[in-house]
Subunit: 419 residues, 2 copies
């Protein structure tokens, strides 16, 4: 289907109109619709897996990287956890209509600040079919319309998944047109989508080039889900075993994720007690290290780190290591190179931990815990829309409440401004 801007505009207009009704659906009705979608997915499982196999084969043939092909693939196991995730979203408490605050002014005006849906949410994401279900269900549960643009390699999978979504909504007598799928693979679609002010907000999830397209063209608010250049600082007072386990977990638990550590900072007092044995361990684990000159004095086989290394999001078993003379030098390094995602300190000094909390300006700051723990599931928030690296609206892991906004509801009995 060849791309045409006017077709995009009419999809957006139709979705906007249809999703007005979502804002006032009861939680019961929304959960019923989500249960129907789950049943439809279950029924259409063979069709979905078949479309997904076709997608994956085409992607392999087209030379997509093995890591990307793997993320595209829906195995039986992943299908199950996709269904499970959908039912989890239906079990999450509905944020819509809950009161953020309520008070009375001196004149007896009763003011409430109530959560309401944002409206129409655009989501641009990679070729990951499970994200289609996750994002569509979260947006719907929060009462929003959604316009989804998934990676082109997942087109066949998404087409079938959307038939299940629409069928499930229709069976609950919910207008299915409030959840829209953009059937084009053209990159120009992204530029046009984010510049159309019919959307209330756009959430891009993906790599650097997607972010650049979005930022260059966006005329609607953007909640970025951006790269993580995360740091762990092993302070002079860090206990060896705790530091070793946290740093290993932060780097090697799942290196392809945005909350993995990319740079390790070590206080010079720990050069012999921590850095030397840890470098040995990293070699054993097959981790490639780029090091500062002092790191290379300990292990001359380490390649030299440059400012470019410190700005790299490796997403692999590769990392930087720098030995610093002072805590301030570590803080300065983080202020200069961090992407503001997640940073951790390992320390037994409470003054240091409090300073780290206060001075490190990242969406999540951790003491004596692995950066990998910055996650909606781990935090107990349920399903996650993404991890926002934007400083407005939502910062860090975003759950269902972050897909809402607020309105003031004010009750008077003839209150006037004059007099």
């Amino acid at each position: 289907m060849s791309y045409d801007r006017s077709a995009l505009s009419s999809i957006l207009a139709r979705t906007r109109e249809a999703c007005r009704s979502y804002a006032v659906l009861t939680s019961k009705k929304k959960n019923e619709a989500l249960a129907n979608v789950a049943r439809q997915l279950q029924e259409m499982r063979p069709l979905i897996l078949e479309a997904n196999r076709a997608d994956t084969e085409a992607a392999l043939k087209a030379g997509l990287s093995p890591a990307m092909c793997d993320r595209l693939l829906l195995t039986e196991n992943r299908f199950e956890s996709m269904l499970k995730g959908l039912l989890e979203v239906s079990n999450l408490p509905d944020p819509v209509g809950t009161a953020v605050s309520r008070w009375e002014n001196p004149d007896g005006l009763i003011i409430e600040k109530i959560r309401v849906p944002i409206g129409l949410v655009g989501v641009v994401y990679e070729a990951r079919p499970n994200v289609t279900i996750e994002v569509a269900s979260l947006c719907f549960k929060a009462g929003n319309g959604a316009v989804l643009k998934g990676g082109k390699e997942a087109m066949r999978s998404n087409e079938v998944l959307f038939r299940a979504i629409w069928e499930g909504l229709a069976q609950a007598n919910v207008n299915p047109e409030g959840v829209a799928f953009l059937p084009w693979s053209d990159r120009k679609v992204v530029a046009d989508l984010v510049s159309d002010t019919t959307l209330d907000v756009v959430i891009p999830r993906g790599g650097q080039s997607l972010m650049e397209t979005v930022v260059a063209h966006a005329r609607v608010p953007v909640l970025r889900h951006d790269q993580g250049i995360c740091h762990v600082y092993v302070s002079a007072s860090a206990p060896f075993l705790m530091a070793r386990d946290i740093v290993l977990d932060a780097k090697t638990n799942r290196p392809s994720t945005c909350n993995s550590m990319e740079t390790l900072l070590v206080h010079e007092a720990q050069a012999e007690t921590f850095a030397r044995p840890f470098l040995h361990l990293l070699r054993e684990r097959g981790v490639t290290v780029y090091g500062c000159p002092r790191t290379r004095q300990i292990d001359s086989s380490v390649a030299p780190a440059t400012p470019e290394s410190y700005r790299m999001e490796y997403l692999a078993l590769t990392m930087n290591m720098r030995i610093v003379s002072t805590f301030d030098e570590a803080l300065d390094h983080i202020a200069r190179y961090s992407s503001g995602h997640t940073e951790a300190i390992v320390t037994s000094d409470v003054e240091e931990s409090e300073r780290f909390f206060r001075e490190v300006d990242s969406s999540c700051v951790m003491v004596n815990a692995s950066t990998r723990l910055h996650d909606g599931g781990v935090f107990g928030l349920g399903a996650e829309v993404g991890i926002s690296t934007t400083r407005v609206h939502a910062r860090g892991t975003m759950g269902l409440p972050e897909l809402t906004t607020t309105k003031y509801m004010v009750r008077g009995h003839g209150h006037l401004r004059g007099q």
Copy 2:
């Protein structure tokens, strides 16, 4: 001083660097600095008033509208309330460091969500010198750096006001470079400012043409302070006196403000009981009315309302009036023409009031109260940054907390993701 983009870039870079220190100032230090600014303003009062007189005379000569000249003028009274406002900001509770929420996950990880400054805030506003002090003090109190671009007609006033701000901050040993003033009157400055990603957020306050410039060029998040096309609906069950007083207050209390009513909707059951006597009253009060055909049947001297009238923000003693057959027709009219700012219903029917709350999608929805009451001061929030018509981050009247974002602070004792 002729405009030069590289000079703008270097101001932004310097302000960004300087304001890093604001994030960690104590409340006491911030209040001390604000008190110093108040003292400086007091000392420099003759200079400020002189510069303001020069601005106002030049504006009058240049043919600026009397309403705009009036907003530019700093009288002795307005100077006093500017000082009073500054001290009020210093008395507001500091949002920075306060916990939004705190919980423990099943593994004993302690998670806190803490308010922190947004960072560097750009504000573009009209030629109103009192707004300079209001906005600069609110941004600073919330720990933010600020880059201010005021209307060009207030340039002389703002130059002197900024000398007072800088002197006051410096006396408290606070780096004054975190609060910057853009000394250019070129409109191109706005386009360049909002496209510079050194800013974390930009708040535009002003008319339609400013908003268009901002939306067209913004590459940073925008919190719009946009027009108010506000409605009051007088329902079939509205008591006459309450309806009369609320509608009059909403229209005539201060017609130039964004929370004034522009369109009155009346249920047909009230055509004789409310619309007819009220039209008479409006004529007496010198209010110009554009009306629907049924309004014109009651009063043939009323000019016909068109879709264009319904989209007008008059900001004057002019309004639209439409008689509707049903409550739904009123809701549809609001959904079509409202700018999402503030709407009110006058009713004695609780079912109607609850439906109005639920279905009207505006930043503030009021029952039996005048739209003019949507105001930070009236709500008891203290000074107001503006009324956001954006659907993300903040909606409706914005106070000090809306100038902050959050970060997660997570405490573990060796917590890992693996295992």
